[in-house]
Symmetry: C2
């Protein structure tokens, strides 16, 4: 069997030649890395390509714009908020949901999301706000609904507490105190919020103010 | 008595010659007008001076920078949130506080504040966030505290409801739904928030979830 240098060449391709999911992940990681070092305004498709040790064309082939690339880079690593905790009581379940939301807010992706929002223009901000709504706020509301409905079934929670203002109270307070007070939501802060706001709001009542 | 053309001249000065508070108000109004038409990035000290029919020096004499000028322009017209309502019941008092907060949020100054925050850089944003905290959030919390404490004195509100999470619940929800859901807080929205979140949160309880 005769092999020329030319037909043998593909087998000798450099080991760094990556394709598909592997290359994609390297590019997304490089984008997140760039975001952390040079920020949204400093990030370029060329810089990301260099960071991922690939060519600019490989980046543009997958993501037509910087916004598309960064949206995917931020979404890829955001902690998962899909499975509701089931610890036997509504207070513990709420606390666990809040811990997970706090961990998502203060993950590298969550921190990068907020700093991008400070730098980008209003049209781009809409894309990043969609990520916050779709990947943090809405999953959080689904977890809270499940936990509250389970509390109602157990007789712990008054049935009319299952309304949108009660569900929104947790993300609203977490966003507000992070933004206005610079809170980083320690475990103790989360406990205080649950005990001083959510438990009184959810429990059975005798009387209402006039 | 002899008067020359020269000694009489001051009395004939053009009526548009304004000083002190009058000129200051004209400059602040011109700044707000500019903000509404060309936005934070388009606003210049020259443009504001032209709008107020005065010279650039008259503007710089009072405000050393664009940020100082715009902060004052926004603060000057923000609705006042100092006197707590006293309508005889905590529900009505809370509703009236919320209506006033909503009116401040959606005043021309409140709307301009939010759009400036989208355009300016992080250091400038801190100055505008101070205006929001000092002129909207903190006065709102003072009103809510007064209204809740009066409810406790009347026996309408449980005494341990006077905590910071309960007070923050209103500004947190109003900020969150304006930002995340685009809510403009109609009177009906405000009523629902009070009836579904604040009234259950404030009223007397029999039991708590386990």
């Amino acid at each position: 069997m005769v092999t020329s240098r030319w037909t043998a060449a593909p087998a000798q391709a450099p080991p760094s030649r990556r394709r598909g999911a592997v290359l994609e992940r390297a590019i997304l990681e490089a984008a997140l890395e760039q975001l952390g070092t040079v920020g949204w305004n400093g990030l370029t498709m060329e810089g990301v390509a260099a960071g991922a040790q690939t060519g600019k064309a490989a980046v543009y082939r997958r993501w037509p714009s910087k916004v598309d690339l960064v949206v995917d880079a931020l979404q890829a690593g955001l902690p998962d908020l899909t499975r509701a905790p089931d610890l036997g009581g509504v207070r513990e379940d709420l606390l666990e949901v809040c811990r997970r939301v706090r961990d998502a807010m203060f993950s590298p992706q969550g921190i990068a999301l907020r700093s991008v929002l400070h730098e980008c223009d209003a049209r781009q901000a809409e894309r990043f706000n969609q990520v916050i709504r779709g990947r943090v706020v809405e999953p959080t509301l689904r977890l809270l609904r499940e936990v509250v409905h389970r509390g109602i079934e157990r007789g712990e929670v008054r049935p009319d507490a299952a309304n949108s203002y009660v569900f929104d109270a947790v993300p609203a307070m977490m966003m507000y105190r992070a933004k206005v007070c610079g809170s980083e939501w320690s475990d103790l802060d989360l406990q205080e919020m649950i005990d001083q706001m959510m438990v009184p709001l959810l429990c059975v009542h005798v009387g209402r103010p006039a």
